[in-house]
Amino acid sequence: MAFASFSDFIAMGGYSFYVWLAYGISLLSVVFLVINTVSKRKKIFSQVEQRLLREQRIKAAENKEGIL
């Protein structure tokens, strides 16, 4: 253990702002990346679902009259 106490650990020898800023932003960007990736997967799924719905709509409209 390089630090005597927990508050020492937080203080980071006077560099706390920079060290925790660096770690914090890094963590945030990784979290952002993960969220982006997972939500992408969900988006693709819902896109496919939407397309299936759309195909149903097309079929329903196929034999109507007076449609351009």
């Binding site: 759309r54 195909e55 097309i58 409209a61 109507k64 449609i67 351009l68």
Partner: protein, 212 residues
């Protein structure tokens, strides 16, 4: 009532037509005909006030169209060679915009209209990704929710398939029956019964008329 008196159109020092006069009353369809380059599009741009004639005047309800543009545009729908559809927006968004800005008082369901013009299933695709005919349909869809009396359509049937042409013709007849007016050009034969429309045939100016 749309009234043109002694219109003369000059483009780049070339006279396109000279002393053209005609009147269009409620319930009439006017089919402007003529070979390529005779000046149909130029005439239409005069009629909607995008350019101004070399001589002559254009009146809408007895008033020059330039004198009160806004109230003229409230009753006039123009669909030209270029469609005026934003390619990055979907068909739905495009129609919604045209409705809200041009005919906000008409009740309308964009989905319904898109179904009527045969774009079911393409509502949420950016229009850039539609085929030539489908893009044209988005532009023409405005006719389905327009409360304008006067429609000015420059080659509306371009890229539209046969079934589509039939449907549009029916719509035009219906519009005329409700007291609307239509001015259109097309190089195809109209299959509208002849009593419903009259023709205006543009000719190239003869040698004598070429200069005024």
């Amino acid at each position: 009532m749309l009234q043109c008196k002694n219109l003369t159109c000059v483009r780049e020092e070339r006279i396109l037509f000279n002393n053209l006069s005609f009147t269009l009353s409620a319930g009439e369809i006017l089919h402007v005909e003529g070979p390529n380059g005779v000046g149909k599009t130029s005439l239409f741009r005069l009629l909607v006030g995008l350019s101004s004639p070399y001589a002559g005047e254009i009146n809408w309800q007895q008033q020059s169209i330039m004198s009160d543009r806004e109230s003229y545009y409230k009753t006039m729908l123009y669909i030209g060679h270029k469609s005026g559809i934003k390619p990055e927006l979907t068909a739905l968004e495009n129609l919604q915009f045209y409705h809200d800005l041009y005919n906000p008082k008409v009740e309308f369901d964009a989905w319904e209209v898109l179904m009527l013009v045969g774009l079911v299933g393409y509502e949420n695709v950016p229009t850039a990704q539609l085929s030539a005919g489908q893009q044209r349909r988005v532009a023409l869809a405005r006719m389905w929710f327009s409360d304008c009396k006067l429609w000015i359509l420059d080659e509306p049937f371009t890229a539209i398939d046969k079934k589509g042409v039939k449907v549009i013709e029916d719509l035009l007849i219906q519009h005329a029956k409700k007291g609307g007016m239509v001015v259109l050009t097309t190089h195809q034969d109209l299959s509208i019964p002849t009593e419903f429309y009259k023709k205006l045939i543009l000719h190239k100016p003869t040698t004598g008329e070429q200069y005024v």
